[in-house]
Symmetry: D2
Subunit: 379 residues, 4 copies
């Protein structure tokens, strides 16, 4: 059981929601990569609550303190660790734990798994707060991929029943994707975005929450990344996506819709365009047999509604159960939570894609690939 992943690009996450620090160590970054810390901060801000009415009221600075692996803005080739201090935790809100587990949360199995030694306040190591160091890892990976020509974009496909416009998987409108970031919810269609925002506010007003779907795309990936089987791009990316708390579904390209299609309809025919091998459609989402085929990589990631709601819910008292007494109990949770995690999940999904693709790229190209030609004296 571990909170680390990756061979060539290894991420180790640590920290608890109400402990002093959450953080991450990135091991395997080549030496000599220029990182723009302002860009990292800007990317992390997209995940931050930032006073939005549709985000948690918890106020955290969310500034990374990089304590190793970076010198004069260049990576040293040794582990890069970033720390984030927790300052606005309200542990008193969790007095019902460990006796009365919240429905939809990890509380009950976490108590069993840890024999009661888990730090359950704010969900401990299970907390969405841990997506902060993960998103830091993503911000770094995105910069590295960008230096290799790859760009990652995403939008909210749906919130509850509200749907965004469809993205063209062959030729995604990157200008529209960038513009979506200025909408109330990062959807392509501004009216849909406003409806999503209103639906979330309405759910919040009722002490409830909503689910949503995020679509993510990577342009300009080289042909031939990945492998059959366990290093297949789908396998590697899905592992990252499903590591994000609240994700319950992942599909690539046409995804579940592919299961309703005939092969003659699904297979993407080849053509030659701009002197390159391209496909005429992109049902495969840029992935054939676990390998990138040079077309945009597309995936959709489904988030369940936030488990934390303030509506009364049916739970049980574990101590009453052990004592052989009537265990049923009505639970009302206070806390401060996002009414729709899919929205703040957008940069987390981008991070997951970037982390997975950088792992595959480094496995293929090695850790000196990015700097091989730079003589030390010219640094």
């Amino acid at each position: 059981m571990s909170s680390r992943d990756g061979r060539a690009f290894c991420i180790q996450i640590f920290g608890e929601s109400h402990g002093p620090v959450v953080g991450v160590t990135l091991d395997g970054l080549p030496a000599g990569i220029l990182l723009d810390e302002n860009e990292i901060a800007a990317f992390l801000k997209r995940r931050a609550a930032a006073g939005s009415p549709i985000a948690t009221g918890r106020k955290e600075e969310d500034l990374p303190h990089i304590v190793s692996g970076l010198k004069d803005s260049f990576t040293t080739g040794y582990p890069l660790t970033a720390l984030f201090y927790n300052k606005d935790a309200h542990s008193a809100d969790y007095g019902f734990l460990p006796d009365c587990p919240r429905p939809g949360h990890a509380d009950y199995p976490a108590i069993v798994r840890s024999h009661g030694y888990d730090d359950l306040r704010g969900s401990g190591h299970h907390s969405g707060r841990l997506t902060l160091p993960y998103t830091f890892a993503g911000a770094v990976a995105i910069q590295v991929l960008s230096q290799l020509g790859m760009e990652i974009y995403s939008h909210v496909v749906s919130v509850g029943d509200v749907k965004d416009d469809e993205l063209d998987p062959l030729c995604p409108d990157t200008a529209a994707l960038k513009k979506a970031l200025s909408h109330p919810v990062p959807a392509l269609n501004k009216a849909a975005s406003q409806q999503m925002f209103d639906a979330i506010l309405a759910a919040k007003a009722e002490g409830d929450s909503l689910g949503g779907v995020v679509e993510v795309v990577c342009t300009n990936a080289p042909v031939g990344l990945g492998a059959p089987w366990f290093d297949g791009v789908e396998a590697v990316l899905a592992k990252q996506f499903f590591s994000i708390p609240a994700v319950k579904g992942v599909e690539f390209g046409a995804g579940f819709a592919a299961a309703t299609m005939h092969g003659s309809q699904y297979n993407d025919p080849y053509q030659c365009a701009d002197g390159k091998v391209q496909t005429v459609s992109n049902n495969a989402g840029g992935l054939l047999g676990g390998l990138t085929n040079g077309m945009p990589i597309t995936a959709r990631v489904a988030f369940r509604p936030t488990p934390s709601i303030s509506k009364a819910q049916q739970s049980i008292s574990l101590s009453a159960l052990q004592a052989g007494n009537e265990a049923a109990k009505i639970l009302e949770v206070k806390g401060r939570h996002d009414p729709c995690v899919a929205v703040r999940g957008v940069p987390v999904v981008e991070s997951a894609m970037a982390v997975g693709l950088l792992e595959l790229w480094l496995e293929r190209n090695g850790d000196q690939s990015l700097t091989g030609g730079i003589p030390h004296a010219e640094k």
Copy 2:
């Protein structure tokens, strides 16, 4: 890039479709586990084509030759290797390769990845033939899990537009699931099964193929397997599911439908039943925060239609492209293929779930857990 996975229970797959052998090594099995080789053979038979009109015409015996790690039907605690001999490969069917890549297949990116050194005949290491040793791994894992009380079942949810009955995720009808195995396609509803069968035959008659969805469930898993983040049950199982060729979507519990729900609707309330903590509904598919909660684990796995079809398709000639000539080319593939991989994929999906759960179980309990109390003299 590798064809191995797992830490505590490591699977190493090897072989090519038209090479002499495909096989698998299982490393990490505890010593002293009794394996029933007849049951393994019976399980593999569910994956075999076996003369079915809706399966490939390739005839293979598919009998495992276990060459290490098993003595007198008990595991030795050392690597267990099984070999399968390839006898009915028709390499002449693949003369169009490597010049003219098949749409929907790995051919083109595999050529780029391997710089032309891949063995493309029958898709080489990318072939569905490799699901044979993987299903062997699954057959072994299923037996071990079964000795621990866990059982795995599955059915075909849909083929094209034909849908099976829904399975109750709280209390799956295991008798019906067992009976489904005797239907033309392993669906719960016999009439739907027949319609699926007919739809596949019709696609085949047109030189076409069809997609489908498989649902899989594990009963009786202990509470607290898994972890947050990268060892989360969803993350680990999804990596296995997406390693299966042709899988393009995976969801757990309510899955994508969860994204349309409110939290008050999605969260599974707790109750006390039979002296145990249970949930009233099972939208979470038995998984909270990456951990098992003791309810049935449910997942759905979407297969795209088989890429191999005999209908004419638009492709290109790579040599013509390199020579600067007109590259467009119409491709007609012969070969022998399943018109709907989802059907033969059923035991492969069960295998994926078993492999992932055994990995998590062994990480949690160690490799001497199954035999700890058995003194050698009593063997």
Copy 3:
């Protein structure tokens, strides 16, 4: 390339000698283990320079700040991270780098490896300072092993030409080993210890350094830990020992002397003693075929003399070499260094043994083994 190791018990080290922090994350510790922080501090003090005339003049507090994974002195079962702040670094002492690499140091290959982006001050991530977080990992592992009955001891076998008394490998004198900690150098023989001390002081006075050998022993290990091949106890422990900077030789049991012996002399005959299987001698150092046999595990670890000396040394100017000029250069290094790293290396060697054995123990027994019987309500 990475600074992490272990599957069941994973250690991730990070930090640079002259950066703000060095630290370590331990991933895989079972939940519910009571850690005594005073004991950890006491163990780390054995590694600290502590004003000794035979240790570096660098003054650091060396107190661990545990920022995750521990609650009320019990492990939570999630990553445990400890940070150590660097406060007394003198970066100005390293002005000769990166132009003029120090003989015996990693400077030159590290410059090439990182294309000049390494942080070379105080040897950066290569520094002996990183043994501090590693020794923290060891201190934790030693406490866990101790709760399982295993104890680890060590002494300085030799410094330069001065030799300590031999330790009985069958029945090590643990009282004498404990007493050795109060000697000027932790050797069994007090007179030898004083001679070692004097020899180190004499080397220091000449601006020179000395090598030494450390012997380490683990008592009461269970029979059957380890495996043949790559998880063999020797393989796993040697990887840990050789990860310590300055270690150039490792032997188990009779070690190199075994190569001069006949089988009839080397093989340890079996006997029954106290109702248990024991050996009459212990040339194998408690290890047969990569497995523990229940006898004391013994190893000797050779440290080269500290590379940092203040005597003038012959080096080159890399910039002169690149410019095609005369590159030879005489280097005089200031800095503050230990004249004999073997002495402060003693707890580091104990840590290496503990880390390796805990990894093997957890692989064998799983991560819930230590707390399996503890009901959460009784916590």
Copy 4:
């Protein structure tokens, strides 16, 4: 517990001494590497007993059957598996097992570890027979390294008390090393080689065995392979060396002798020679801070005497012990064994060095590094 190792270049060994097959899968080899199967066979022959009076009488063909990953003598970039059939096993020789464990062998801890389910005949998976597939892995790695300019040589430094000439670590005499292969024992000095041979024959005549030391060297390794800590070259190579059965000591460069030296004597001064950075001496064995420095990499590996001897030895009866009866027992083993495993261990040691260095090289350069420039159409 596992019989696999490596991340970028993963080796999975399988098989038992008296099972039908021993074999190995190599996962991570780049595509497009030309392998010379005759050279592989020739290398394996150096390990074979080949009717020598100082080797086991067991007669095996030892020819690799490559069943995957190779096409037209080029690697495909997918797992490469080689099988070796066991044909001359005499299981009847092991009737004393599992009751009466052989001193010096893994029998007793292996019985405990596997709870009696181990296949002990011929030592099962612990057998030296498994060095055959391992040496196959080495033969492949040596060819790949050779294509990168690196060459590996070795000689027997000592057998019992007989010593070979010393090898110059700065500039090893490769002609002499090649010539040593034609001597009765592969030592540089022909007279010493004959004395070693005679000493082994004498030990054999007495039903006894002898230990020995092998020295191995790699020339022309690039500067900067490896890393500090757990991917240090010493750590990685030592893990490989100690994985070889019967190895009990490993040292690099001056090794244990370094512990008797002063820093001013040990540190290798730099000079500029042939326009390159070189050292004046090579006490470090080409390794500084876990990194290659471009000088020859040198290591010495100590083998204990073969545990299998026919002289009577003192053991116990496990069943008598369990029954509470007198357990002492005199054991006389028949079997067929090498009287000095160090001699046949020479190519195994070379293999270990090659496997470790290829792992580090592929981590650094990625798996497409060897073939990156080869366009598929020109194959």
